[in-house]
């Protein structure tokens, strides 16, 4: 009876198993419970597999069964034991290193480390090339997994024993692999049928080989390079398979594992392309300067991206590419998130190609009026030319001709002109006075008996130069006539606005001279001016030099030509983005601005 049952149910026959050999009483005492337990275990296992393969379960139940089954499967058990082992090792090492902080003595001799790594590398290589050599791969995942865990244990133990952080791959952890193999087993998928899965396993092994290789020759820094090569090859292979068989032909575990890398790679490539395009837009072949590129928002990032990434070279490819993608994606917006707070809050464009200027609030410093006129016409020409291609072409040819004709001038357009400081020597000073008088004589009715009214003179607001031009010239005529006696008139008549501006700037000196009793010297003039300015301008604004727009920052922008000093750098930029073209204080058109260095 007993023998027939045992024959029918082979799992009950555990007589071949024993712990202690021999026929002693002790051996029997130990072996009998062992055999019973083995029989029970095999029975449960068999029953479990039989049950899980039938179709009488709902999907949810099957899922639960599979989950429970994982913990009792060989993969689950190995994963569990390995993780506990590694965890203990790491904890132990942290205690030990705290005790002996000063001496970085390695426990294992370097030769032993080499041998350990080499043996594991050998094992891994055997596993790696097994699918290429023979076709019998039924237990391949099993073998692979065991060697994989062995590699993990060796790497962790050796690294910790020499006071280093063990290298780990973020793509393939033991747990992930065990889960993947278990699911493949339950779904009865043969790993050899899917080249993607096989390649995935080989990449996992190869990444471990890289780690051991790097450890063997003490070149941790080169890991990233190797890992990048490996991953790029594999991603290329994946892309090829995807384009050949479609996206859904690839197993879902591989999509989960490698798609983030692909996506990050895409982000990185797209960002770099955008940046290069921006550089190309900025590129000015006639006047190449690095400053053009420095205005770009990502300039500092692109120059220091390796510092931003903060990598040593011993990370693996996926960590780095994901980090880079996150940095690029977050950009300059997350000032508060501390990830890249080295970006300035507002990136100040020092200088912008005038063809792209919309608001004159973006013009740094004053430029000559003629140049600005030129650029306006160029912008207008370009704007009109966009509508029909032929005229655009002709305009472009004209533009090119202009470039060829005077390349130096074009180069200077981008910078602010150097001759903002007008050289004042005495001769030019006097000739210009004469000329303005001469041109004035044509317009006015030569009323020399006209006496300037000083009170009225004072009432003229400084902001209204243009409208009160005639009054000014009349008021100053008395003094200027005196000057005329000394100098013979020069025939060059200065009609250009630049000279007129120069004349207007001297107006104040004239009026001060008219008011003062004695001869006005430079020192006297400066003291008068100092007193006046402290009385008039600083009295009202003494306590408040905050920006008129935001009231938060200090004012540091002067607009030209109205010289209004009212806004801060941040507000200038936000105003320029709203296309403000006239001064917010006096409504006169703004040609440019100057930034003051406060503090």
């Amino acid at each position: 009876m007993n023998s027939t049952i045992i024959e029918k149910l082979p799992y009950l026959n555990q007589t071949s198993h024993y712990i202690l050999g021999g026929r002693s009483v002790v051996a029997k005492l130990i072996n009998t419970p062992y055999r019973l337990l083995l029989a029970l275990f095999d029975a449960v296992k068999l029953q479990f597999w039989e049950q899980s393969n039938t179709d009488e379960f709902f999907i949810g139940q099957r899922w639960i069964l599979n989950t429970i089954g994982f913990f009792f499967s060989s993969y689950g058990v190995i994963c569990f034991i390995t993780s506990i082992l590694l965890n203990r090792f790491v904890l132990l090492s942290s205690i030990r290193s705290r005790r002996s902080n000063t001496n970085n003595t390695t426990i294992l001799p370097s030769r032993l480390r080499f041998v350990l790594h080499f043996s594991v590398t050998l094992l891994l290589s055997i596993i790696l090339f097994q699918p290429l050599l023979n076709s019998n791969l039924l237990s391949y995942p099993h073998r692979l997994f065991i060697v994989f865990t062995l590699s993990y244990i060796v790497e962790t133990v050796v690294a910790i024993s020499s006071n280093q952080i063990p290298l780990e791959g973020s793509d393939y952890s033991i747990f992930e692999l065990s889960l993947q193999f278990y699911i493949l087993k339950t779904m009865k998928v043969n790993i050899t049928n899917s080249p993607e899965l096989l390649a995935d396993c080989m990449v996992a092994i190869a990444s471990r080989i890289i780690i051991h290789f790097v450890e063997m020759f003490n070149t941790r820094k080169s890991r990233l390079l190797m890992s990048t090569c490996l991953n790029m090859t594999y991603l290329g292979f994946l892309m090829y398979r995807m384009s050949k068989n479609g996206f859904f032909s690839i197993p879902i575990s591989i999509i989960f594992r490698h798609f983030p890398k692909l996506f990050s790679l895409f982000i990185v490539i797209a960002s770099f392309t955008c940046y290069l395009l921006a550089c190309a837009v900025r590129f000015n072949p006639t006047a190449f300067k690095l400053q053009n590129l420095q205005d770009l928002k990502f300039y500092s990032f692109m120059n220091n991206w390796s510092k931003h990434l903060n990598f040593n070279g011993d990370e693996d490819f996926s960590t780095i590419i994901n980090k880079l993608a996150i940095l690029l994606y977050l950009g300059t917006d997350n000032k508060d998130k501390n990830l890249n707070n080295e970006f300035p809050y507002v990136n100040v464009p020092l200088e912008i190609n005038k063809l792209f200027t919309i608001s004159s609030y973006l013009n740094f410093n004053i430029e000559g009026d003629e140049e600005i006129m030129d650029e306006e016409t160029i912008i207008a020409e370009w704007g009109n030319g966009v509508h029909n291609n032929t005229s655009l072409l002709t305009k472009f040819i004209k533009f090119l001709k202009k470039c060829i004709a005077n390349p130096n001038q074009l180069g200077n357009e981008a910078t602010f002109s150097d001759d903002t400081q007008v050289d004042i020597d005495e001769k030019a000073y006097m000739t210009e006075i004469n000329d303005t008088i001469l041109s004035n004589d044509d317009d006015d009715d030569n009323d020399f008996n006209y006496l300037p009214d000083f009170n009225e003179e004072e009432n003229i607001d400084d902001d209204d130069y243009d409208s009160d031009l005639d009054d000014i010239s009349q008021d100053d005529s008395l003094y200027i006539m005196n000057a005329l006696d000394l100098i013979s008139p020069n025939t060059t008549i200065l009609h250009s606005k630049k000279n007129l501006d120069w004349y207007l700037s001297t107006r104040e000196i004239f009026s001060k001279h008219l008011q003062s009793q004695s001869r006005l010297t430079r020192s006297k003039y400066s003291t008068i001016k100092l007193n006046n300015s402290s009385e008039s301008t600083f009295e009202e604004n003494a306590d408040d030099l905050s920006c008129a727009v935001c009231k938060a920052n200090q004012r540091n922008i002067i607009f030209w030509p109205c010289k209004c000093f009212a806004v801060c750098e941040d507000c200038r930029i936000s105003l320029s983005l709203r296309n403000y073209n006239s001064c917010i204080c006096c409504r006169r058109p703004v040609n440019g601005y100057t930034k003051l260095q406060t503090k």
Binding site: V549, K551, V567, R578, R587
Partner: protein
């Protein structure tokens, strides 16, 4: 924007003006909605009357204009829409500059009560009376409306 409005709120606490009787945010938690009470200028048909203004400040302030309206809506003025209380004032439209503040706007509205502009009317009847210099009819119509709404 916040610091700017806070500053204006601080300034409005110490505000002393002949015509601005009150300038307060509706709730101190939210400084984007303000209420203002102004007095009609002395030598205008609006003298001896008080008017309420409602000022809504957009998020983009001071780069864009606040939205100003006469709250009880029945405001007889050539540049104010009688139905909606909407105000036609150049600095509230194209001539806005970010240096203006709420107090400045209110002062400009008081000034507008004194000096209506019939060239950009929102109330055609009053504007036409003003255009043909019929000041008596203009004054009478305004006081009729004001007394009517007071009752």
């Amino acid at each position: 924007m916040e610091s700017r409005i806070l500053k204006e709120y601080k300034d409005s606490r110490s505000l002393q003006s002949q015509y601005i009787l009150a300038l307060d945010p509706i709730s101190t938690d939210d400084l984007t909605h303000w209420e203002c009470t102004i007095k009609g200028p002395l030598h205008s048909p609006f003298a001896n009357h008080t008017f309420k203004l409602r000022i809504d400040i957009p998020q983009t302030y001071p780069l864009t204009t606040p939205i100003c309206k006469f709250e009880p809506f029945a405001m007889p003025h050539p540049n104010v829409n009688f139905e909606t209380g909407e105000i036609c004032l150049d600095i509230l439209d194209t001539n806005w500059s970010p240096v203006f503040n709420i107090q400045y706007i209110v002062e400009a509205i008081v000034w507008l009560l004194n000096e209506p502009n019939f060239k950009s009317p929102l109330n055609l009847d009053l504007a036409n009376l003003l255009r043909f210099d019929d000041l008596k009819a203009y004054h009478d119509l305004i006081s009729y409306h004001l007394n009517n709404s007071a009752k």
